[in-house]
């Protein structure tokens, strides 16, 4: 390929940027490697195997459920003539706006002994005590898995739906002319061809699951994240905690790479997707079951929790909470907006570098920067402190050496740490979106401006960036929403007098006082809805 810009400074700055983003991970790995083994040994002999078992089981169940929900709903929406299809098509994305720990709390409330469901049952059947009947306990590993699957399945739905919609319809026609029914054609052609989408979205779900700590903590499910917390905050051994965090991260990476490797060499993309689609016509009973399935997902993952929140707001909210809401809301916005903007800038830089550079390793900054996503928020926060703390010290030392007033902890003690962590964590999302968008631009447009006398920079500004407007917007929105929902990073890194919506809501949940913060919870959900609604309109 012809390189359009081989400027050395550009190369250097991109690699440097990637390196800077990678440093916290390296610090964590290094800390883990140099940790003493004594505590590790004790944990291994007592609780660690159980934690590991829980982690693996949780990951397995969530992925299983999410893939089940997501693939089936994507298939129904793209292959059949289900009623209210266009409505359901985007409604199924709504659960993404709900943080898992939020619905975990709401459903626990709903299905608790003293909750409305059991109370009604007891009224109807005249039961007096818990020994009179069996009712499922939500606060178990399976319960946690269900909660997580309900809010994470839209990732699978979204990607698999896209894959189905972009498939060459002639393949299905060919399959049918070779004797397979529409259903068989779906199972033997459409589904296998969607394998990359299923794999990628499943990896995403797994990473999100392993990063979760609020839901599992609320449900008293002890996973590796529990172990990390224990080791760091209970035993105070940061080295061992780093070791455990490294194990967690390597586990995630292993699964992701294994998945990628398993589909290497097999092509799934056809030349071009065609527009006409033959749909499977459903019988009345099939319509019923399909509708129950899809609407059930929308209700369970979004509508029911939303209604519960609204009821709480109506019943419990008071005026003095409003000012608190405004201040925490502004904090959330501040952090998320800055993080999203920076992330998109970096993604563009890496994306353009990959596109225009001739270097064999031009993919590297992009690849490296994507690792952050695999690191759970807690771990990243720890890594931030481990990294930025010493840097702050150096800065202060330098300042005092130069006779200037000590600036204090301007990095680790300010929003810088949070924003840095959010950028590292969510850069992968921006990268993926931006790279996809850049790839859609025909290569001829790379060379055309030069032939008209426009400089490289001019070409970027006048041609490429305008063409990428929608992509940039989407990438920005996605990171913005993730940053709004993010919890552990905020909890551990925030400076003085700083609460965000997520930390506020979490605090109240842990004190069983969500009613006071229901309005804030609804705000988080509304912000989460924005990208979904806007994305849907622009399609």
């Amino acid at each position: 390929m012809i390189a359009l810009n081989n400027s050395k400074t550009w190369t250097l700055s991109n690699y440097l940027l990637a390196l800077v983003l990678l440093i916290p991970v390296l610090v964590m790995l290094f800390g883990g490697l140099t940790a003493s083994t004594q505590l590790f040994l004790h944990l291994w002999q007592s609780v660690l195997p159980r934690y590991l078992e829980n982690t693996i089981l949780l990951g397995f169940f969530v992925v299983l459920l999410a893939v089940f929900f997501g693939v089936i709903s994507a298939a129904i929406i793209t292959q059949t003539n289900i009623l209210c299809k266009s409505l359901l098509r985007w409604l199924l994305l709504l659960p993404l706006a709900m943080p898992a720990y939020l619905i975990a709390y709401l459903y626990t409330d709903l299905f608790d002994y003293a909750g409305p469901v059991q109370r009604t049952l007891r009224d109807w059947f005249g039961w007096q005590s818990p020994n009179d009947y069996w009712f499922f306990d939500l606060r178990t590993l399976s319960g946690a898995a269900l909660m997580l699957a309900l809010v994470l399945f839209p990732y699978v739905y979204m990607l698999v739906r896209g894959a189905f919609e972009q498939q060459d319809q002639n393949l299905i026609k060919a399959s049918r002319l070779l004797g397979l029914t529409a259903k068989q054609s779906f199972l033997r052609v459409a589904l296998p061809l969607a394998r990359p989408a299923i794999g990628i979205s499943a990896s995403l779900v797994l990473m999100e699951t392993l990063a979760d700590f609020a839901t599992v903590q609320y449900f008293s499910v002890n996973t590796l994240t529990t172990a990390i917390y224990d080791t760091w905050l209970g035993y105070g051994d940061l080295g061992a905690a780093n070791a455990l965090a490294s194990v967690l991260m390597l586990l995630v990476l292993f699964v992701v790479l294994a998945e990628q490797k398993s589909r290497k060499g097999v092509r799934h993309q056809s030349s071009r997707p065609s527009i006409n689609k033959t749909v499977i016509v459903l019988t009345a009973s099939q319509q019923f079951f399909a509708s129950v399935f899809c609407w059930g997902l929308v209700a369970a993952g979004f509508l029911v929790p939303l209604v519960m929140l609204i009821i709480m707001v109506v019943d419990y909210s008071s005026v003095n909470q409003f000012s608190l809401l405004v201040s925490t809301g502004i904090n959330s916005l501040k952090v998320s907006v800055i993080a999203a903007t920076i992330t998109v800038f970096i993604a563009l830089s890496f994306g353009f570098y990959q596109r225009f550079h001739a270097n064999k390793f031009r993919h590297l900054p992009l690849r490296i920067s994507g690792f952050g996503y695999a690191i759970p928020g807690t771990v990243l926060a720890m890594a931030m402190l481990s990294t930025l703390g010493p840097v702050d010290h150096w800065l202060n030392d330098i300042a005092s050496y130069a006779g200037l007033t000590s600036p204090g902890l301007i990095l680790s003690g300010s929003l810088f740490a949070i924003i840095f962590a959010l950028v590292v964590r969510f850069l992968a999302i921006a990268n993926g979106t931006v790279v996809n968008g850049i790839n859609l631009i025909p290569h001829s447009l790379d060379y055309a401006p030069a032939s008209l006398g426009v400089s490289f920079k001019g070409s970027l500004i006048k041609v490429h960036i305008p063409l990428l407007t929608k992509t940039i917007f989407v990438a920005w929105l996605l990171v913005f929403v993730e940053a709004m929902k993010e919890l552990p990073v905020v909890l551990l890194l925030r400076p003085f007098n700083f609460e965000t919506l997520s930390s506020q809501v979490y605090q109240l949940i842990s004190d069983e006082m969500l009613e006071q913060g229901a309005l804030g919870a609804i705000l988080i959900v509304i912000f989460g809805l924005l990208p979904i609604v806007l994305l849907n309109k622009s399609k």
């Binding site: 393949l171 026609k173 004797g179």
Partner: protein, 358 residues
């Protein structure tokens, strides 16, 4: 009398409130290869889709081997029709090997039977060494063969090919056409192949059907259509000659190239007609003088193996606008230059006159 393999009766298809196929009638015997030609948008692909069962029909019926596939009341699902199709972009399954692609339609047979069939087809289509490769590892021509092998494996009653040679290198095209034709003849497979290139029909097909705007204009053997096109549209689409406008009055017709005496059986026709003129039916006289008045001028020159190829148009000015002509085609070894005025005349022959409207 044997039942025809394919019988299409008064077929009409309406899509999105637009009439795409109108009152089509077609019959194919077992082993016939039909070449279906027409401009883009004439309805060829819709016809294939209707036969395959992907499009509902609004009138008429489609019958294969005595069994009704589609009529206004019912439509047999595509997978039960035993109709095969080779798509323009081959539509091969990228996640399966060549062998697996070919075996896809015969999965209901026993394993050993499948292996036998696949091996047989791999041999005939010269694909043995690619059996375990994936589609993206093959060239266009090889993919073409795989697509054909896959479609033939379940022994379909009718095979449809959608522009099968449009993606093939010109040099390989003829070779491939002959190969596939002999294959189809070997299996005695009935086939319909769609193309916008009429030349392929002569090499590949036994019968030809010309379509335009949803109508089937003419259906016959290719040579008959070319010698006796039944309408202006057919002759024009197939580029069977050039057009000379004439005013017909009974047995006489007048044009800008002179008077033409028509045969007696033309009877009492009157009005503007178009004469189909083949190059060999035109006489060129480049010496113009007071006696030999010029009636045409050179518009275009190119060199071919038949000599110079000229297009002539009528001279500007006086004459009746309706009778003006252009692009009258002639081959000659006489050297002319652009805008040179000459005199053309028509040799007597079996005149084919057409009206333009339909």
């Amino acid at each position: 009398m044997t039942t025809p393999l394919l019988s299409i009766e008064q077929l009409s298809v309406t899509l999105d409130n637009k009439k795409v196929l109108l009152d089509l009638n077609l019959i194919l015997e077992q082993g016939d290869i039909l070449g279906l030609v027409g401009a883009s948008g004439c309805g060829k692909t819709t016809l294939l889709h209707a036969i395959a069962g992907f499009t509902k029909i609004s009138q008429g019926q489609i019958i294969i081997d005595g069994k009704v596939l589609s009529n206004t009341k019912q439509s047999l699902p595509a997978e039960q029709r035993q109709v095969g199709m080779v798509f323009q972009d081959y539509a091969l399954f990228p996640h399966l090997t060549v062998k697996q692609n070919i075996a896809f339609g015969i999965s209901k047979l026993t394993h050993s039977e499948q292996v036998k069939q696949v091996k047989h087809l791999l041999g005939i289509l010269k694909l043995e060494e690619y059996a375990n490769k994936f589609i993206h590892q093959l060239s266009g021509g090889q993919q073409q063969r795989v697509a054909i092998a896959r479609a033939l494996a379940p022994k379909p009653k009718l095979l449809m090919l959608d522009e099968p040679f449009s993606n093939i290198d010109a040099r390989l095209r003829t070779e491939l056409m002959l190969e596939i034709r002999s294959l189809l003849k070997l299996f005695n497979t009935t086939a319909i192949f769609v193309t916008h290139n009429k030349d392929e029909v002569f090499t590949f097909a036994d019968k030809m059907a010309v379509m335009a705007n949803g109508y089937l204009l003419q259906f016959d053997q290719p040579n008959i259509i070319c010698q006796q096109p039944n309408s202006y549209q057919v002759a024009d689409f197939l580029q069977l000659g050039s057009w000379l406008p004439c005013l017909v009055d009974g047995i006489k017709a007048s044009s800008l190239l002179g008077e033409i005496k028509l045969g007696s059986n033309k009877g009492s026709e009157q009005g503007l007609r178009y004469l189909l003129v083949k190059p060999s039916q035109l006489q060129l006289n480049e010496d113009v003088s007071a006696n030999t008045i010029a009636n045409a001028q050179v518009d275009y020159i190119s060199l071919t193996e038949q000599g110079f190829h000229y297009y002539f148009s009528s001279l500007d000015g006086k004459s009746d606008k309706k009778l003006q002509f252009s692009k009258l085609s002639l081959y000659s070894h006489i050297v002319l230059s652009i805008k040179q005025k000459v005199r053309l005349s028509i040799n007597p022959h079996a005149f084919l006159m057409f009206t333009k409207d339909q």
